[in-house]
Amino acid sequence: MDNELPITWISQGDDVTPQNDGTFLRERKYVFRLGKFGPFTEKVALLNFDETEIRRRVEKLRTQLRNDQAL
């Protein structure tokens, strides 16, 4: 069982999504795999962008996958 779940980045880039109120939501889009799982697609808002946010999400997903594998 692969408990390491190394991350493999597939793509990163900015993404713009029109909102119902006429504004645009600008985000950074991350597509990656964790081990053999995925692809995972996570978007982090560019407004008050926090570089550590994607790392936290990746760790959450990785932890959850490890728990599932342990069952």
Partner: protein
């Protein structure tokens, strides 16, 4: 479209949308649609994911039970539902692409060479005819006679034509006209005096008065009130 990975979907749901519930599932579907691979949430409680390829996944265990018993899952219930698809897809006119088939087949060089050889063989008779035509042109002996007749007929005609053009350029048209008596020193206003009587003046008709009809002679034309009786 992002391929569907049920393990990734469950990991995402547990990580970001706990505790499990149908509204949370719908929120996840709206905020992270790529994990759902274009599927839609339907079913009795909206906990089933219907994928475009026909697969059905139950995403919440014990959706109608207590919250403590609920948990996210990705249980393939495509065949367990037993409900036939009310709108089954019919086989279309197009076949799926064979990804193993080569897009560009390997060139067959031998065939091209043989094709060229066959076409060249077809021109064999044409080569002979072309050769005969070349010999016929080379054996034509009328060139000397043609040159002689050209020197005899066309040469003097060209010289005569050139001499005539030179003579015409030297001639002055005024001299020719004078010799013919067709020239005058001045242009006369009238060659002969105008002796005819001028035509009589015609009185101008007054506006608004109808001229009398010559054929009518004034008869039969009366005023509107001049009735006979």
């Amino acid at each position: 479209m992002t391929p569907f990975d049920p393990v990734a979907l469950v990991a995402m749901l547990v990580a970001f949308y706990s505790p499990p519930s149908v509204p949370k599932l719908q929120q996840a579907r709206a905020e992270r649609p790529t994990y759902f691979a274009g599927g839609t949430l339907r079913g009795t409680s909206g906990e089933k994911l219907f994928l475009p390829d026909g697969r059905i996944f139950d995403l919440i265990f014990a959706v109608d039970g207590p919250v403590a018993q609920r948990r996210y899952q990705a249980l393939d219930v495509t065949t367990a539902t037993g409900d036939p698809d009310p709108f089954p897809l019919e086989p279309g006119p197009l076949d799926p692409l064979d990804e193993e088939a080569p897009i560009f087949p390997t060139p067959r060089t031998g065939e091209f060479t043989s094709l060229v050889a066959e076409e060249l063989a077809g021109f064999g008779a044409s080569d002979q005819q072309l050769e005969l035509a070349g010999v016929a042109v080379a054996e034509f002996g009328g060139a000397t006679a043609l040159e002689a007749s050209s020197a005899q007929l066309l040469g003097p005609a060209a010289e005569h034509h050139a001499a005539m053009r030179v003579a015409l350029d030297l001639d002055d048209p005024a001299e020719e006209l004078e010799a013919a008596g067709l020239t005058r020193g001045t242009i006369e206003a009238a060659v002969n005096e105008y002796a005819d009587d001028p035509p009589p003046d015609i009185a101008e008709p007054e506006p608004g008065v109808t001229p009398p009809d010559e054929d009518d002679h004034g008869e039969g034309r009366g005023k509107p009130g001049d009735d006979h009786g």
